[in-house]
Subunit: 317 residues, 2 copies
């Protein structure tokens, strides 16, 4: 059932001992949303724990360190943030997949799996919704909370760059800078600009890795486990690499394929102009946003590429 702020407030004020689930391969928005929400619940005297099927990458330590201060406990409430589909919960799917009471999300492809879903498809990020909800509820936001929520908004919008950026996202950023003195420049440096030597090495190979298809309208870049080992770069270090697939002016759709350790290809789509990649991904079991979406594909690299090219070809005709 889709709900609004009033019901979300009623639910949150009356919950206790919550587990907040973030999605696998966690990014700035789900981590920011998870720990931001934890802070908000703390303000209301409610304890929670933020979990993830994968380890939280080191680069997000400024949000995760010192958080989850309640340790472990048996949860009474199950909340999911920034998760469109239970399969994105990884190992937590079998534990909580059919028990989620509240989902806060901004993906238009959300599967409505939770009892109550607070969905705002036009929001820049889950963090934008959570900030607005905190304001609606009149709950005090700490500097740490503001830091988390800013991070989610900034990362999901490519630093206020992409089409999904809302005027509200800018206004929230201004409020955070004025009222909470967040170190936004430091956050942004680590979220967008600092790269490991392994990542720089990979980027130096971008030109040769770009495979143009459909008269250059589609670019695919595939990074295998072997390549990651060779260059000493991990899956999470490739966060933010997908937009690099659409740097040529004529490219309309870019896809970054990353091979997971289990051999499955995690495919990240980016749309440069008007193609809706969430729709394309939904035809092959995935989803996301109009301009940024994803899916996973099993099988060989070549077979996976064929599926991708065909799915995009259909959308471009």
């Amino acid at each position: 059932m889709y709900i609004g702020f009033s019901e979300a407030e009623k639910f949150l004020r009356n919950c206790e001992d919550a587990v907040i689930i973030t999605h696998r391969n966690p990014d700035g928005d789900c981590i920011g949303a998870g720990f931001g929400l934890q802070d908000i619940l703390s303000q209301m005297g409610i304890r929670s724990k933020v979990v993830c099927s994968d380890e939280f990458p080191q680069r997000y330590a400024f949000m995760t360190d010192g958080s989850n201060q309640y340790g472990d406990f048996e949860p009474k409430t199950v909340i999911a943030v920034d998760i469109a589909d239970t399969k994105l919960m990884g190992d937590y799917e079998q534990i909580y997949g059919d028990k989620v009471q509240l989902c806060i999300d901004h993906h238009i492809s959300n599967k409505n799996y939770a009892e109550k879903t607070l969905l705002q498809g036009e929001a820049t990020a889950a963090c934008e919704i959570i900030y607005a909800l905190a304001k609606f509820m009149g709950v005090e936001i700490t500097k740490h909370c503001a830091t988390c929520l800013y991070t989610g908004i900034a990362t999901d919008s490519g630093c206020f760059k992409y089409d999904c950026t809302t005027p509200r996202a800018h206004e929230i950023a201004a409020e955070m800078m004025r009222n909470y003195d967040i170190n936004f420049a430091r956050i942004n440096r680590y979220m967008f600009d600092v790269k490991s030597r392994g990542r720089l090495m990979l980027e130096s190979r971008l030109s040769e890795l770009m495979e143009e298809n459909l008269d250059g309208r589609l670019v695919i870049v595939a990074v295998t486990q072997a390549m990651m080992s060779e260059m000493g770069v991990s899956m999470e270090e490739l966060e933010g690499f997908a937009p690099m697939t659409i740097q040529l002016e004529n490219t309309e759709v870019g896809i970054l394929m990353r091979e997971r350790k289990d051999g499955v290809f995690k495919c990240s789509f980016r749309s440069a102009y008007d193609v809706n990649v969430s729709e394309i991904c939904q035809t092959i079991g995935g989803g996301g946003h109009a301009k940024a979406a994803g899916c996973t594909l099993e099988g060989s690299l070549e077979d996976a590429k064929k599926i991708l090219v065909e799915a995009v070809r259909k959308a471009l005709t």
Copy 2:
């Protein structure tokens, strides 16, 4: 003489036939400021022409096309935007260098060469000042004007990413999105994400071109005319390349050296953390902002590098 908004308004309302000077190697802010100001003057029935010593790069056509609609005329008023020092006017220095009546700028290194200088060192961009001035004056802003001013604010802040981003910059962006429906995503794609094949080729060589000095605290990347020819990339296509010199976490100062056709090296400094590069540049004839500054050096590449390393070494001790 430094002035405020009241005097700037009085000056602008009473000027006529203005030449608006932008700096050589024009960037998004000076072009946006120049053409944004032209629109504002037009609203007041005042004609103007925006000039530059260099050609306006094609990527800024969305601002320049259809502008300068008054053609050529003998100017009665001389205005400079985003120019800290008359030598940055290129060929226009000898014509107007000592005749500038109003300068609107945000560089703390401004040489106070104009009769009246509207300087706000804390503003994200000259465009932020001009937007605020237009609001102060109660002048109507057109969509084209908003597009120009948004571009300047976005480009100078690395898309609301860098330390120079103000809360006001975010608020202005929100207002522009709400009131003028600017195509910000399209602007940002062209300002930040679209790259030519020549530029991508250069980027693929970044790792090998990065010269680490002072225990990695300083990184220098030099691009010569020969390299530009070899890769088919022009000076202006290298706009935005300077931040790539500080991608390694430990790098505190990055310098991009670009050889101009006249053999002079245009050096762009970026500060990753707390080093004030405007101060460093001022010791060698340049200037700019605390986190982004520049200077020019003549002589051989090796001699120029020695000067740069020495200047930075002094600042780091």
